[in-house]
Symmetry: C2
Amino acid sequence: MPELNSPLAVVGTVAIDAVKTPFGARDRVFGGSASYFSYAASFFTPVSLIAVVGQDFPEEYRKILKEHPIDLSHLEVINGKTFSWKGEYGTDLNTAHTLDTQLNVLLDFKPKLMFKTLPEYIFLANVDPLIQADVLDQLEKPKLKFVACDTMNFWIANKRKEVLEVLARVDAVVLNDGEARQLTGEPNLIRAGQKIKELGPGYVIIKKGEHGVLLFYESHFCALPAYPLEEVYDPTGAGDTFAGGLMGHLASTGDLSFENMKKAIATASILASFTVEDFGLEALRRIQRSDIDQRLALFRKISSF
Amino acid sequence: MPELNSPLAVVGTVAIDAVKTPFGARDRVFGGSASYFSYAASFFTPVSLIAVVGQDFPEEYRKILKEHPIDLSHLEVINGKTFSWKGEYGTDLNTAHTLDTQLNVLLDFKPKLMFKTLPEYIFLANVDPLIQADVLDQLEKPKLKFVACDTMNFWIANKRKEVLEVLARVDAVVLNDGEARQLTGEPNLIRAGQKIKELGPGYVIIKKGEHGVLLFYESHFCALPAYPLEEVYDPTGAGDTFAGGLMGHLASTGDLSFENMKKAIATASILASFTVEDFGLEALRRIQRSDIDQRLALFRKISSF
């Protein structure tokens, strides 16, 4: 398979999930932070997926990724089973309760990057901060334009030092309200956002699920509501999809101004609004770029005064 | 005192509160739904305050109301003590815990309306729905342009039938997310808003505190974030201030289009953002109309993309 010339790369997980929501349960759902991210980002730009799977990784899932311009040269296959996550949501749909995590091949994940053309936009999706740092070590060149990262409550609690070291090296961090509060010990999200900026990332993006998103940058600020949905079917992957939309928009426009960053978080919100309307990547697989643009135009209309 | 020619009237409570927040405690704070409402609305238009107080009602509080064009002809003074409420907020500041309620003169509140010029905009602030209905009976004329109401968890739980009867008679209802869920049994706020529309009010406005506000009208929808605040000192009165800003804007512009309603909820959010920055009416007393306009312009900037 020839390598795509991708300006954007993501390191994260590719997973086989089992998900239960008030609306139904699915046993084998194609998931993982890097899967959602790359499928979303690739509506806008080719993207390289850096991840590891086991020998059990289904060919049908690989085919799903190939529906979009997603470069799989760095999707490593090693001995063992693919990472799997099992989770459940209550009626509020805001918090995932993890029932089981099988790291499997993730335990041996050591990305070896051999890009012919180095990506200039990097997203460090939710994996061990040591892996995030390792990828940065391999790609950090003067040429790098924009690096963003995600993290999760587990790493903040158990590898805080390593999380902080990654934060000091990135241009942006994308995290949810609970993680922002956990990281700073600050219940007020406006103050939490300011404090996270001081940890290193110029841009701080706090996702609040159904309540929208906050963006902090120097003395600038932006708050957007969420796109209104009557049916949230499965929130799994919403955050990774958001990040994919964000980075896809930035990499395809090449514009890192604050004004364009506002458009990027709006686009990101729209992508996430599709993902939660079905299990796994199903809703994203059904849409075209024009569906995104249409929903984005409506979003602008309903959130302006 | 000559009656002001007020296009807008509010019926509600005038109270002496005791409030404790993580930032401090105050024993005698001038409060009540009609006080906050009328002080906020009167930045935009004269407003008639329909309420009852006891003989202990301090002259200094009356003077505060007179700082603005608030008509007090219908502020009745009767034998007994003024309504008082004592409440406390935890660190999340979203939920008030009522420690004590002394209805006092509210138990005998039977508004007798004798307007020379009838108001065309009416707000039924949070009081017993039977009093709200009584005021509507007295004012409901073909001339009435716009009636909105508020309510609270206590009335929804204990006088549900009476609340529903009021809802069937108003043009708009303003309530918070918890009340919207309680009223409809619907956890999803978008669906809750749709369901409340079916109860009668054309316009449904759901306040989400720090997460902003949702507006429903026919097939139209609007979502706005909250104005970002690093310091929320005391949330008491935020909802009543919001309603005052909303109705004040509508009554002063006379424009009931959906586009102007969006401006009204933005204005309402800005008024509320001032109130929570201090105890009672203190923050509102410090500002001018120009401060509101300035914050509103910034709000538009930070919430558009």
